[in-house]
């Protein structure tokens, strides 16, 4: 069974190139992809993930306001009954701050993996394959 991924650029951010390339890469790698595009609200992420029973939610942000846009993100997912793996990637902070610090911030907010803007689609795919295979196995075990 192909894993299902919900994808989008959060907030008022209109950077579409990265997410387009990611969508192509995920589709080519066999994922079922729901790309919400740019300027996606927290609620839209939650609704799509719930509707399509997503295995992972991938959030992209490139304009530097990710922290603000993601406040309460995991609560919004929970309220919609979504409890998937969550990733975030991009230019997550304004300025050239230390990325390890940025990573901690977003891990503390509940994201399972945090990527910088240098991350290739392949790295994201490898991570998804690991995390989703794992969760699928879990699922299988539970339903077995």
């Amino acid at each position: 069974m192909a894993a299902t991924v919900t994808l989008g650029v959060i907030g008022s951010d209109a950077h579409v190139v990265g997410i387009t390339i990611l969508e192509q890469a995920l589709s080519a790698a066999g994922f079922e992809v729901h790309n919400l595009g740019v300027q996606t609200s927290q609620e839209e992420f939650a609704e799509s993930a719930a509707t399509h029973d997503a295995d992972a939610v991938l959030v992209s942000s490139l304009y530097g306001h990710a922290e603000q846009d993601c406040r309460g993100f995991h609560e919004t997912l929970q309220e919609a009954g979504v409890d998937t793996v969550t990733y975030i990637g991009g230019n997550l902070a304004v300025g050239q701050s230390d990325f390890e610090e940025t990573r901690r911030t977003f891990r503390d907010m509940g994201f399972d993996r945090v990527f910088d803007s240098e991350t290739s689609p392949e790295e994201a795919i490898r991570a998804l394959e690991m995390d989703c295979a794992h969760s699928e196995r879990d699922t299988e075990r539970v339903t077995a």
Partner: protein
């Protein structure tokens, strides 16, 4: 109902009154009095005349800050130290979203604190009189540059404020700039803008209009960009616009860029009504810049070389600080001077590149197929055709954030670095054109020993900011690292 037809006088008046009610400064707009103001301006500030009568490519930067005095001194710097031929006034983001109250708050904050609370000049909030102060303070003509899907009030105020050139259009300021605006709405809004420009034009005050050619700014195939320019030009001409500057964003391959600029000018003259004076504007590389001023100067230099060979009517310059966002005025002027030096060293050389004619032929044929599909989708009506062709993907723009476009077409460079179409999706071009593109991309795939794949697209998007043109899988033949290593990539850029 949406049609490519001239707005009747009565309807124009009604919309005008309506629109001017959206913000307090709208009340000060008086068409007759504005015509008189324009008539009082010296010949050197008549944008269309200056542009259309130039004997060499004119240079124009981008620049906009919140306060009037600041904007004047910024433009004075670009005029005097940058030797800009034409000046810009870039509008802030709140105004682009028609959020005049937020713009007002930002403007007041800027006035109180002196800080940059807005990323551009809120011309609506400043109003007619302060726009005129700006126009009067500078020697060169000034264009309004923005990115506003609904620019009706902005046009009403800036036209009355003495500006004689206005960037944008219903496709080029919708598809690359926003997500949810419908094309039918933006076409109606821009019909008003163009009709207003037409009304001034009929009174002898030519308002130059400039569709935004680079679109998403990221590897847009020339044929797609040109098709959009032609269609937008047609919509504007219907409303009475008589001075159109069609745009094109550099892709970085000399032959393709020269061919595209020639195709743009030729098709513009052929497709648009004879009454329209067509000029072209070349945008220096709108994609991601290297995070290094020295390397950025190389990118700007290539823009200058291209402009010198292709000889567009106008060049929009970049600055060496492009990577970090808004440049200092010094860096902005430096980008102008680097471009000027290159242009003036090369433009008298009469350089002819082999292969331009073939490339131009391919671009023209593809662009006209796309224009034809638009007309077919609208049953001969371009306005209807645009909405429908974009909805179906028959016309499409790569990396388009807008829901009004499929955004499914994908570009990649061929083995010479020319931008080809890797994924046509529903793009309505003939099979032989698809085959030509496919063959070019196969050639590259063979050179690189890998299959054609979206990976090429991803590699190409980052290539120039990484220091090369083509996103080869093994760029590291040479020495790598150094100052750039570890710095963030500049792969994505914001349009305008």
């Amino acid at each position: 109902m949406l049609r490519d037809e001239r707005i009747p006088a009565e309807q124009l008046r009604r919309i005008d009154e309506d629109v001017r009610g959206n913000w307090s400064t709208g009340a000060a707009v008086d068409f007759e009095e504005a015509v008189e103001f324009h008539e009082s301006l010296p010949a050197s500030k008549r944008f269309a005349d200056v542009l259309e009568n130039a004997d060499r490519p004119l240079l124009q930067p981008r620049a906009g800050v919140a306060r009037l005095e600041e904007q004047i001194s910024l433009l004075e710097h670009l005029q005097n130290e940058g030797q800009a031929d034409l000046l810009p006034t870039t509008i802030d983001s709140y105004t682009r979203d028609n959020q005049y109250e937020k713009a007002q708050t930002g403007l007041e904050e800027a006035r109180e604190t002196g800080k940059a609370a807005l990323n551009g000049f809120p011309a609506v909030n400043h109003g007619v009189e302060r726009c005129r102060e700006l126009v009067e303070a500078l020697d060169a003509p000034i264009e309004v540059r923005h990115g506003t899907p609904d620019a009706r009030l902005l046009a009403a105020i800036t036209f009355a404020g003495g500006f004689q050139s206005f960037e944008g259009g219903p496709i080029s300021y919708n598809i690359p700039y926003c997500k949810e605006n419908s094309l039918a709405d933006t076409i109606e809004h821009w019909q008003f803008v163009d009709r207003l420009a037409g009304a001034y034009t009929e009174r002898g005050i030519t308002i130059n209009r400039e569709p935004f050619g680079p679109l998403t700014g990221t590897l847009v195939p020339p044929s797609i960009a040109i098709a959009v320019m032609l269609v937008e030009g047609k919509l504007a001409a219907t409303q009475g616009v008589r001075s159109l500057t069609l745009g094109y964003g550099q892709v970085g391959n000399l032959v393709q860029d020269v061919a595209a600029l020639r195709a743009l000018k030729k098709l513009g003259n052929e497709y648009l009504p004879d009454a329209v004076e067509v000029t072209t504007v070349f945008h220096e590389w709108m994609g991601g810049f290297p995070p290094d001023e020295a390397r950025a100067n190389g990118v700007i230099g290539l823009g200058g070389t291209t402009a010198a060979i292709a000889q567009p009517d106008k060049v929009i310059t970049k600055s060496p600080q492009e990577f970090q966002g808004v440049p200092t005025k010094e860096a902005n002027a430096a980008g102008l001077r680097t471009t000027r030096q290159m242009l003036d060293m090369v433009r008298e050389q009469a350089i002819t590149l082999e292969g331009v004619d073939e490339e131009q032929e391919l671009i023209e044929r593809t662009a006209m197929e796309l224009v034809d599909t638009v007309e077919a989708h609208g049953d001969g009506d371009v306005a209807l055709g645009v909405v429908d062709a974009f909805a179906s993907g028959a016309l499409d723009v790569p990396f388009a954030p807008s829901d009004a476009a499929m955004g499914a077409v994908l570009p990649a460079r061929d083995d010479d670095g020319r931008v080809r179409i890797f994924e046509f999706a529903e793009l309505d071009v003939s099979d032989d054109i698809k085959e030509i593109h496919g063959n070019f991309l196969d050639e590259r795939a063979r050179t690189e020993g890998r299959k054609r794949s979206f990976k090429m697209v991803a590699d190409d998007v980052d290539a120039i900011s990484d220091g090369r043109l083509i996103g080869r899988p093994n760029p590291g033949e040479g020495r790598q690292g150094g100052e750039d290593a570890g710095a963030p990539k500049g792969g994505e850029s914001r349009a305008d």
